[in-house]
């Protein structure tokens, strides 16, 4: 994958510095300008720059040197953007209070009471083929590296939570079968739908809010301080997947897309019915039993996951309501 197209002065300066030899330098006023964005989640320039900074820790870019991953000047820019992103999250998503009840019950309650727009019912019953394909393209940014962000948490936890996380990830990563890697199943779905299965192929048309959904996973996964929130995020993700996947599969079949496209979602009906229980009880329940101080973080991560999913879903529905297939903006 090559660097995406910049979306403003910050990404322009940052991408140019990433591909130039010598010291990575982005002028301070540009960073401050992005940090002052009125709506951080909808700011294309900020979210894309942050996404690129994170991507250096995953597959990287063909036109950026591998050494940039640990370049302190790149990391400094990343930290500056993370600060404003996390401040926005903390302001939007107050940490739910923890009480004396069984922790998985509390976590499930936070997840089940979160409100979101009716994206899944739309995909199930009404979306046309073009809308469903757009949905697949947007989701490809994450699903082609499915579970990679949460894998960063493995060395940061221990005991029962680690064992359960490894168990869940083993299933995500194909249960010993490369052809069953969930990212591979999604690539097969893209190919089956006539789309490009290439990693990051659709980043240029991915809106800021979906970049923010991806950036949240990297923020939580890459900071040990936020390990509880990363696992709460995982629980929310898995708990809100099984039933929606069944409906999305039905929507894809309704518009006549080949079986391989819906197959990815059918797999997740079953897989995530398992993962939901494992994530709520064996991962998050065990983590909090062993480290009660992390309870609030776990609930925050779950709430943040659902809050950003809701913003991205609202964006997509608004685009369709306006009668358009939106690109980047």
């Amino acid at each position: 994958m090559r660097l995406p197209t910049p979306r403003g002065p910050l990404s322009e300066a940052a991408f140019s510095a990433l591909t130039s030899p010598g010291t990575f330098e982005v002028s301070h006023p540009l960073v401050e300008q992005a940090r002052a964005a009125a709506d951080v989640l909808h700011c294309d320039d900020l979210q894309l720059t942050l996404w690129v900074a994170y991507e250096l820790h995953y597959r990287g870019f063909d036109d950026v040197g591998d050494e940039r991953e640990w370049d302190p000047d790149v990391l400094r820019l990343r930290r500056d953007l993370e600060e404003v992103f996390e401040a926005e999250l903390r302001q939007r998503v107050p940490t739910p209070s923890v009480d004396e009840r069984d922790f998985p019950t509390q976590l499930r309650e936070v997840i089940e009471t979160a409100a979101g727009p009716p994206l899944v019912p739309h995909l199930h019953r009404h979306a046309d083929r073009a809308q469903l394909l757009q949905f697949l393209r947007q989701r490809s940014l994450y699903h082609l590296k499915e579970s990679d962000p949460h894998a960063f948490v493995v060395p940061r936890v221990d005991g029962r939570a680690k064992v359960a996380l490894a168990e869940l990830l083993y299933d995500e990563f194909g249960s010993g079968r490369p052809e069953a890697l969930h990212s591979k199943l999604f690539a097969d779905a893209l190919s089956g739908a006539g789309l490009d299965p290439g990693y990051g192929a659709y980043v240029d048309e991915t809106p800021a809010t979906t970049l923010a959904v991806n950036n949240l996973m990297s923020l939580l996964g890459l900071h040990r301080r936020l390990r509880g929130a990363a696992l709460g995020h995982l629980a929310a993700f898995e708990t809100t997947s099984s039933v929606p996947c069944r409906k999305i599969a039905a929507g894809l079949e309704r518009v006549g897309l080949p079986d391989v496209v819906a197959a990815y979602f059918h797999e997740h009906v079953e897989a995530d019915a398992v993962h939901e229980q494992v994530a709520l009880r064996d991962i998050c329940g065990s983590l909090v039993a062993d480290q009660p101080a992390l309870a609030g973080d776990v609930l925050f991560g779950a709430a943040a996951c659902l809050a950003l999913d809701a913003v991205a879903a609202e964006d997509l529905l608004a685009t369709w309501a306006a009668g358009g297939l939106g690109a980047a903006s």
Binding site: E167, Y170, D171, S175, S242, V243, R246, V269, E270, A271, D272, A273, V274, E276, Q277, V278, R281
Partner: protein, 65 residues
């Protein structure tokens, strides 16, 4: 693997089964286990028996009403 099969009851949800090679359904049909842990339907409403498909959530919501 130790050869031990472990079953965990999830309140209001499925049975989590670890260490099994096959799950035999009520008709005697054997379903191979391909995951490290599987969720076996306990509410009887799943559309893909013997596996849980989270239909119990809709069932418990209907019962609460």
């Amino acid at each position: 693997m130790s050869g031990e099969v472990r079953v965990e009851l999830c309140p209001g949800g499925p049975l989590l089964v670890r260490g099994a090679d096959v799950v035999r359904d009520t008709d005697g049909v054997e379903h191979p286990v391909t995951r490290p842990v599987v969720a076996v339907c306990a509410c009887g409403k799943t559309s893909r028996p013997p596996w849980c498909d989270s239909t119990h959530k809709a069932v418990s919501r209907a019962e609460r009403r």
